[in-house]
């Protein structure tokens, strides 16, 4: 068994026979041409043919992967019509009396070289796009268009690299997966693989030996590993993973679009907890009806300096737009001394869990808080936004927050910058907040119970300390009683109450939570459908499935 490591472009498992694909070498010969006019015409014809092919590819891609994925072929067309690109080719043919193939090849090298030299990863990838279209033009010039692969049975394609145009032409029932020697996960090829759901592992540096043809291989798109001639042990393990994956997919099919409703008609919202913009895809894939907790810390953790209002505004706007009207609850900055963010310059603390963190930083350093609030309120125009504040222990804190909000609203109005309505809530994650939840309920529009921290503070147990495992009971009656109290106080004052801590995903508690009357559970995206299934099988009033 041979093991090849690479980078995964799409996480899925494929098992099949290898087919090695070697592109016919396009040797570009430089020849002298006397009839430059004729040569220009030759080029024009090849260019027109190429544009037509790109339009066909665009249509196919549109069907397979939708507008965003297909857009690359529109960009390819634009590159082909770019005046600088065309000027370069025309000038070479006319002034140097060379053949069109050579002119195109040299122009391609020049422009792809320009991209390859840029210091942005994404831009460097565009070099491949230039090569792709130029090669296509050259193929059309010499009349040798290599046909899309024809296989008798579904194969695992092994190649040096695949151009976006080649990827989109792959028939999913013929090609189970592909493995390339070169390539990157940022390339359009990888993006297309992801959208087409074809497992792919790239940048493997695999030896393109024709002898590999017909050998059994397993592509593990989760780990980015390819097993050639796998042992029985590996094969069995992979088959099992594949079966599990299939099960999950079927669950998805059954439950997608179905309501989170019990057998006796009680509804509950099931939302997703996420920590990064890139997780939004997972939220939608798992059919969450909203985002119950968007941890905004990543914006601060990912940078070398405070994220600006514009940067934050753009991220919040993107999430809201992608969620298309579904509720998005963003939690304001929740960091402490335990997350060492250099530029915040926070003092080291003996007890970071009980220290200068979360809302305390925001109320103390209002410049940071105002920046985030401004960005949030501005983004609210683009979707359904709620904002919640972490680590609250008093009514005074909420009053201070609201005062600051009024200030930024006034500022934005004065600056004629549009902002939207925002539903305001707080996290109940301290015993203090739980105990005065009747008072807090009068100040906000919702509660979200952060069971992780609430449990820690209430049981006085550090969950990271394995010595305390024997003492730790996540279902401790103190916690359950607190949750019940918070729900009752919330409802008495007409506000909704949800859970965003890990306890929300604990299916042994789902029935209890429903009985308490919780309005919302926000969990990790992968738990959503399982939870929905559980809810749909419960009879709150009586006997269950």
């Amino acid at each position: 068994m041979k093991l090849i490591k690479g980078k995964s472009a799409f996480a899925s498992i494929a098992i099949g026979k290898i087919a090695v694909y070697k592109k016919k070498e396009q040797r570009i010969q430089r020849t002298h041409v006397d009839d430059t006019k004729g040569e220009l015409t030759r080029f024009e014809e090849a260019k027109t043919k190429t544009v037509e092919q790109l339009q066909e590819l665009y249509k196919k891609a549109l069907k397979e992967v939708g507008e965003t994925g297909a857009a690359i072929f529109e960009v390819h067309q634009m590159m082909l019509e770019d005046q600088d690109y065309l000027d370069s080719i025309f000038n070479m043919i006319q002034s140097q009396h060379v053949n069109a193939e050579y002119a195109v090849g040299t122009t391609s090298d020049h422009f792809s070289g320009m991209f390859a030299a840029m210091d942005d990863d994404y831009m460097r990838e565009r070099a491949a796009d230039v090569k792709d279209i130029s090669e296509r033009v050259i193929s059309n010039l010499s009349g040798s268009m290599q046909d899309a692969n024809v296989f008798k049975e579904p194969v695992i394609l092994v190649a040096e690299d695949l151009a976006p145009s080649e990827t989109v032409q792959l028939e999913k029932d013929k090609v189970q997966a592909f493995v390339t020697k070169e390539g990157s996960v940022n390339s359009h090829t990888a993006i297309l693989a992801r959208t087409m759901n074809i497992p792919a592992v790239v940048d493997t540096n695999i030896d393109l030996n024709k002898e590999l043809d017909g050998h059994l291989a397993v592509v593990d798109g989760f780990e980015g590993v390819v097993y050639i001639d796998p042992t029985d042990e590996v094969l069995d393990k992979m088959k099992q993973l594949q079966a599990e994956e299939l099960q999950k997919k079927e669950l998805l099919q059954q439950l997608k679009g179905k309501e989170n409703i019990t057998l006796d008609g009680q509804k509950i919202h099931i939302y997703a907890n996420i920590g990064h913009v890139s997780d939004v895809a997972s939220v939608l894939a798992n059919d969450a009806s909203g985002i119950g907790l968007f941890r905004s810390e990543f914006l601060y953790l990912e940078k070398e300096d405070y994220p600006t209002e514009e940067e934050q505004f753009y991220v919040y706007k993107t999430v809201l737009e992608n969620m298309a009207g579904k509720k998005v609850i963003i939690r304001t900055l929740d960091i402490g001394a335990d997350k060492q963010i250099g530029y915040f310059q926070m003092d080291k603390e003996e007890n970071p869990a009980m220290g200068y963190r979360a809302i305390r930083i925001c109320l103390d350093r209002q410049d940071i808080f105002k920046t985030q609030l401004r960005a949030l309120y501005r983004s609210a125009v683009y979707g359904n936004l709620s904002v919640m504040f972490p680590m609250i222990i008093s009514v005074e804190e909420v009053h201070a927050i609201k005062k600051i909000i009024e200030e930024i609203k006034a500022e934005l109005t004065k600056e004629a910058i549009p902002y939207g309505e925002v539903e305001l809530g707080i996290m109940i994650e301290t015993p203090a907040a739980a105990m005065i939840s009747d008072l807090l309920a009068k100040e906000v529009e919702f509660f979200s119970i952060g069971t992780n921290d609430l449990t820690q503070y209430t049981l006085a147990i550090d969950r990271q300390n394995p010595k305390l495992d024997a003492f730790y009971d996540p279902h401790h009656p103190a916690i359950l009683r607190m949750i019940q109290m918070v729900v009752e106080n919330g409802h008495k004052n007409g506000i909704w109450v949800g859970i965003c801590g890990e306890l929300g995903a604990d299916e042994s508690l789902t029935e209890i939570f429903l009985r308490m009357g919780l309005d919302e559970l926000s969990v990790s995206p992968s738990y959503i459908l399982g939870l929905r299934k559980k809810v749909r099988g419960i009879n709150v009033g009586g006997k269950n499935e």
Partner: protein, 85 residues
């Protein structure tokens, strides 16, 4: 001649797809349209030139429009940038 400044808000800067859309939009107008970043200027109707500016999130660019439809172009392009980049 019309001129306006814009700060790129798109996290990925001017990458292929919005660049393509911007070039498409610019080509609707007769005016000469350029974008300047850090002293480097590119013709907005030319996609390679535009992408070579390497305009990233947070960069401030100056868009200049000169021609018979400059007023209309300025308005439409400013709106386009705000919505797409």
């Amino acid at each position: 001649m019309k001129e306006f400044k814009y700060v790129i808000a798109d996290k990925e800067g001017i990458h292929a797809r919005p660049a393509g859309l911007l070039v498409k939009e610019a080509n609707n107008f007769k005016s000469i349209i350029t974008m300047e970043k850090d002293g480097k200027t590119a013709d907005v109707k030319r996609i390679f030139a535009l992408m070579s500016l390497g305009a990233k999130c947070g960069d401030e660019v100056i868009v200049r429009i000169d021609g018979e439809d400059e007023a209309e172009a300025a308005g439409k392009l400013a709106l386009f940038l705000k919505n797409t980049l």
